[in-house]
Symmetry: C2
Subunit: 280 residues, 2 copies
C-alpha cells in the first residue's frame, strides 16, 4: 500500500478538503487526488464514499472548486473522492490535442504504445484508488459513483463492470456509447488499437445490455450542450438500459450547457439519489 503525501488541506463546510499525492502502481506515476471528509467523518464515524470522475482537460480541482458538492457531502455525511483524469508528468506520453493523452485518460487500461505503460486509469479508479482510500480514511466499504462527460462514461462503465461494488451510478452529460461517437473512437483507437472486443468492454451502452446485475441509474443532460447530441447520446444508453431491466431516471434540462454551472444546478438531486441508494 503506497504512502500518501498531504498536498493541502482546507476546511470547507465544517469538513476537510484534502489533496494527496502518492505513487501509483497502476500508472507508474505520482498521482494526485482530492478527498472531502465531512464533519461526520471528523467526529469519528466511518462514512460511505462517493467517487467523482471528471471530464476532458480536468484534474481533481475542477469539481472540487466549482460543483458546490462539499455542502451536500457535509449534509448527507458522505466522503467525496476526486481522482485526476490521467497520469501526468514530463516523462508521461502526451498529445497536443485536448482529447488525448494527459487530461484525457478515458478510464481505460491502454494496450497500445506509447500509452500502455502509464495509461491504466481503469485499474486506478476501479481498484487501486478505492483500496487506498479505504485503508487511509475513516470510510466504510459502501461506495457510489458519478461523473461528467468523459467521467460520466467512466462512472457508468466502472459501475457496470463491477457488480455489487457501487450502490448506484449517476452522470451529467455522459459519453455513453464511445465506440460509436467521435471522442470515444479517437481515444479507443489510440489507447486500445483495433481490438473491437476491448472497445466493447469499455462501452456502457454495450455493457448495460449484457449486464447480469442491476443498480439504479440517474442521468442529467442539458439540451443547450454544444456536444449534444453528436458526442453525447444519452437516450441510446437509456433505451438499452431500460430494455435490460434497469431503473433509469433521465432528465433533459432545457437551456443548460456542458459546464460546471449545469452540474452545480443539479448536484443536489444526484446526492439525494446516491444517499437513497446508500440507505442514508
Amino acid at each position: 500500500m503506497s504512502e500518501l503525501t498531504l498536498v493541502s488541506r482546507n476546511t470547507v463546510f465544517g469538513g476537510h478538503h484534502e489533496r494527496h499525492s502518492h505513487h501509483s502502481r497502476s500508472t507508474g506515476t505520482e498521482m494526485t487526488f482530492a478527498v472531502y471528509l465531512p464533519p461526520r467523518a471528523l467526529q469519528g464515524h466511518a462514512v460511505p464514499v462517493l467517487y467523482w470522475l471528471s471530464g476532458l482537460t480536468c484534474n481533481d480541482e475542477n469539481f472540487s472548486t466549482k460543483a458546490g458538492a462539499q455542502r451536500l457531502a457535509a449534509e448527507w455525511g458522505v466522503a467525496l473522492v476526486m481522482p485526476d483524469t490521467s497520469p501526468r508528468g514530463a516523462d508521461v506520453p502526451n498529445d497536443e490535442a485536448y482529447d488525448l493523452g494527459q487530461g484525457a485518460g478515458f478510464y481505460v487500461n491502454a494496450t497500445q504504445n506509447p500509452w500502455a505503460a502509464n495509461y491504466r486509469m481503469y485499474d486506478y479508479v476501479a481498484h487501486e484508488l478505492p483500496a487506498l482510500v479505504e485503508a487511509h480514511f475513516p470510510v466504510t466499504q459502501q461506495r457510489s459513483i458519478f461523473g461528467h462527460s468523459m467521467g460520466g462514461h467512466g462512472a457508468l462503465m466502472v459501475a457496470l463492470k463491477n457488480p455489487g461494488r457501487y450502490a448506484a451510478v449517476s452522470a451529467f452529460a455522459p459519453i455513453v456509447n464511445p465506440t460509436e461517437t467521435p471522442w470515444g473512437q479517437k481515444a479507443f483507437a489510440a489507447y486500445l488499437g483495433d481490438d473491437s472486443a476491448l472497445w466493447a468492454d469499455y462501452d456502457s451502452t454495450l455493457l448495460v445490455a449484457a449486464a447480469n446485475h442491476k443498480l439504479p441509474i440517474l442521468i442529467d443532460q442539458g439540451d443547450a450542450d454544444n456536444f449534444y447530441p453528436q458526442q453525447l447520446q444519452p437516450q441510446t444508453f437509456v433505451a438499452a438500459a431500460r430494455s435490460a431491466g434497469f431503473t433509469v431516471e433521465f432528465n433533459l434540462r432545457p437551456g443548460y450547457d456542458h459546464s460546471y454551472y449545469f452540474i452545480a444546478s443539479f448536484i443536489d438531486s444526484h446526492f439525494a439519489f446516491h444517499a437513497d441508494a446508500l440507505g442514508l
Copy 2:
C-alpha cells in the same frame, strides 16, 4: 450610456449567468463584468442587486464559479453583479507583483502616474457600473454590497462613502485598515502618492469612525487565514464601528483559511443578512 457586448451566457439554477464587456468612461478601457439574473428576474420582475467585489488577482470569474452564490441568488430573488478588480489590457500600466496594477485596483481613483489615467475603480464600482446595470437589466434601485479581502475593503469603503445607496454591507476576510497594513500601504503609496487625506478617504476604519449614517455590517474571518492578522485586522474595524454606533456581526471561524472554500462555507449567511436588510 455605453453599450454592452454579451460575452457569454450560461443557464444556472434556472437563471442566466452573463458576462458583458463595455467601454468604461471611468477607466478608459474595455471592462468585463458578470451579472446573474435569477429566475424571478427572467419572469419579468425587477429585483434588487447584490454587488460582489473580489480580491487580489481575481477577475469576475472567481466568485462566479467558486462561491455557490447563484443558488442563493435564485432562492432569494436577487441579481448578482461581479466586476473585475482593475482595468486590464496590453496598453494599461501594470506591475509584476500580484498586489499592484492589473488585478489589484484596490477600488480607488488613482492620482499618480502611471496609474491615474486608467485606475479609477472607485468611480467604476460606485457610480458607472450601478448606473449601467440599472439601465440594462430588470433590477430595482435597491442595492447591497459585499466582497472578499481587497474586495471586502472595497465593499466596506464604498458603502461607508455613499450614505443611503446600499441596504447593508458584508465582507469575508476584509482589508479594513489599509493605511496601517502592508498591502494597503504599498498600493496607496503607488496609486495615491503621499497625500494622507486621500489615504484616509479610502480607509474603512477611519471612514466608519466619521460616518454620519448607519447600515448593518457583517464580517466573517477565518482564524487559519495566512493573511490574518498581519494584513487583516477585522477587530480594529469592528471596534471602531461599534464605537460609532454601528450594528456589527463579527464571526471568527475556527479552521477556515483565505480561500473560496471559506467563502462558499458561509455565503448562505451573507445572503440571509442582505436579504433581511433588503426586506426580502
